[in-house]
């Protein structure tokens, strides 16, 4: 998810000059990119020691926090944009975190692996959980504990009163706007509450 074209696709959803909170910010590459190319400021949240260190080495603000503990540290509408790029699928409290994302940010941007991408459907039809470049784990050791589809997210967003402002799929670095639930390995949503 850190290829430049993918970062570009997500960065385009972030208004220039935004104050950004990046939940599960990894090594801070996206935050650094947003700061460098779109004049953004903000913080990353990360739990992993090595990734926290990578962020400090990049000079981006990083907070070592466990997202399972919620976002109580952050006030209502404290950020222009809250990002959850490849994060939601790792969280037990995914629905709560989606609501919290909408509370803390004026805009929420979520990206996650689309389980309805056709190779995944093929794998299940053949009787196996998919193992692909995008979902490289075996079913018994995957950190993706909340697998969902592009269409599932639309339902969840509606049920939580979120307005989807833009959405598309990503595959091999390209934006997929036609039949994304079938043709994209990654789902991207930009929403507001």
């Amino acid at each position: 998810m850190s290829e430049k074209t993918v970062m570009d696709s997500i960065a385009r959803l972030v208004p220039p000059g935004s104050r950004v909170l990046d939940l599960g910010c990894g090594d801070g590459a996206l935050l650094a990119y947003l700061q460098a190319t779109r004049g953004c400021s903000g913080y990353g949240v990360e739990i992993d020691d090595a990734k926290v260190l990578a962020c400090v080495k990049r000079g981006v603000n990083v907070l070592q926090l466990n997202l399972e503990g919620g976002l109580t540290m952050f006030g209502d509408d404290a950020f222009d944009v809250v990002l959850q790029i490849d994060t939601l699928q790792h969280l037990r409290n995914a629905q709560t975190m989606l609501r919290e994302t909408a509370r803390v940010g004026r805009i929420g941007i979520v990206a996650f692996p689309n389980f309805a991408h056709w190779p995944n459907r093929m794998a299940v039809l053949q009787g196996h959980m998919p193992v692909t470049k995008r979902l490289p784990y075996q079913w018994y050791d995957t950190p993706n504990i909340r697998v969902g589809t592009y269409r599932d997210f639309e339902v969840l967003a509606r049920r939580n009163g979120l307005t989807i402002e833009d959405s598309f799929g990503l595959h091999e670095g390209r934006e997929i706007r036609s039949l994304p639930n079938l043709l994209a390995s990654t789902a991207v949503f930009r929403f507001s509450s």
Binding site: Y43, D49, V52, V56, K57, R58, L63, M73, G75
Partner: protein, 390 residues
């Protein structure tokens, strides 16, 4: 790196937060590295309860050779090539007022009486220490610090620097600290203080005039403090329920070691260890200093003037922050550091926060956990070195 302490005398009295005035006083300090031409690479290190200006390097013996075991209290963090690299930064360690390691304190002579200050030494606060440190920087010609850094009580001074002199601090590194002490924390301090003042040798704090020292009280104060600086896990790993093994060296004999059914003898290893720590401490630390410094800890509470609103209290800060806490530190717990992070976020300050999963309790801030040291090194290399506005 051989270092020699220096002394700076101040003739102008220091107004204290209590309203008292400290007459002429001296600060003992050490410096490491070289101040650059535009004086932009100065880093101030603030010390905690039982430490001093001797932060890094070694003191020399009569022949100019490093004295064994004389390394500074934070030498694993600060020095040539260390996370706080004295090849790049001009690092300053200052002994605080009220201490017993050189700067004016209760063991020194009160000019008004010609006797040791003892209990009459005025109560000093974190804010007073910071004001005194700022005067030393004035003498050294340093207007702006690249960074202030400290752990525990030193972290409180660091935070206070960003509030008292916001335009003189570019970066603040606050380790294992808190915005104030909790009731439980004050309670531990109070038990330590009661141990000292109820020692028959305390003489109302004027023991030096009486030619005595309240060693018993200091020992117990240190034992209590020591327990709270460690974690249950570390204590169990290090001592467990082992019995004192002085009269049995081989494991077989150790296993057969029987309880001696005494109530006053040293039975368990942990008892022996605490007594040793207490004895050692009582030989070099001053009892009035212990009272003063624990009081300074109790009083520190920058939000107090803002009806407890920490965010409002921190609104003055202009520095960039790095905060670090340790998961098993129950005296200055991660939750307290997160309160600081939250208040800094509300003020839109640049802040990074590392919560290190270390087993060593509060003591972890003095140990060389690689995750901790790498974070400090990266912050100095990537952020402090870039300058920034203060």
């Amino acid at each position: 790196m051989i270092v020699t302490p220096q002394t700076q005398h101040f003739a102008e009295p220091l107004p204290l937060k209590s309203g008292a005035l400290l007459p002429a006083y001296a600060l003992v300090y050490e410096t490491y590295g070289t101040l650059n031409a535009d004086k932009s690479n100065a880093v101030l290190i603030c010390h905690a309860l039982n430490a001093s200006h001797h932060v890094a390097g070694w003191h020399a013996d009569a022949n100019g050779q490093p004295l064994s075991r004389s390394e500074g209290w934070w030498h694993n963090m600060i020095g040539p090539g260390k996370p706080v690299d004295t090849d790049r930064y001009f690092v300053i360690g200052v002994n605080n007022l009220g201490s017993c390691f050189g700067s004016t304190g209760p063991t020194h002579t009160n000019p008004a009486t010609g006797q040791p200050w003892g209990a009459d030494f005025p109560v000093v606060t974190v804010e007073d220490w910071v004001n005194a440190q700022a005067r030393l920087l004035d003498v050294l010609g340093i207007q702006t610090l690249a960074a202030v850094m400290g752990g525990s009580l030193g972290g409180m001074q660091t935070l206070s620097w960003t509030l008292q002199y916001p335009d003189r601090v570019r970066h603040a590194i606050v380790v294992a600290s808190a915005p104030n002490l909790t009731a439980e924390n004050i309670a531990f301090n109070e038990v330590a203080r009661r141990a000292i003042v109820t020692d028959p040798d305390f003489h109302g704090g004027h023991y030096l005039r009486e030619g005595t020292l309240p060693r018993r009280g200091l020992r117990i104060a240190r034992m209590i403090g020591h327990i709270t600086y460690l974690s249950d896990d570390v204590m169990n790993a290090k001592f467990g329920r082992s019995l004192r093994a002085s009269d049995a060296e081989d494991p077989a004999a150790l296993a057969e070691l029987a309880y001696r059914y005494t109530t006053q003898g040293v039975e368990f290893q942990i008892e022996s260890y605490l007594r040793y720590q207490g004895d050692k401490f009582s030989e070099y630390f001053d009892a009035n200093t212990y009272l003063l410094i624990t009081r300074a800890l109790d009083y520190f509470d920058p939000a107090r003037e803002w009806d407890g609103d920490l965010s409002a209290a921190l609104a003055r800060a202009r520095a960039k922050f790095l905060l670090i806490s340790f998961t098993t530190d129950w005296r200055f717990s991660p939750a307290r550091s997160r309160e600081l992070v939250k208040a800094l976020l509300e003020n839109r300050r640049d802040v990074s926060y590392a919560e290190i999963d270390a087993p060593h309790g509060h003591d972890a801030f003095l140990l060389d956990d690689p995750r901790y040291h790498q974070a400090v090194r990266a912050y100095f290399d990537q952020t402090v070195s870039k300058g920034g506005t203060a």
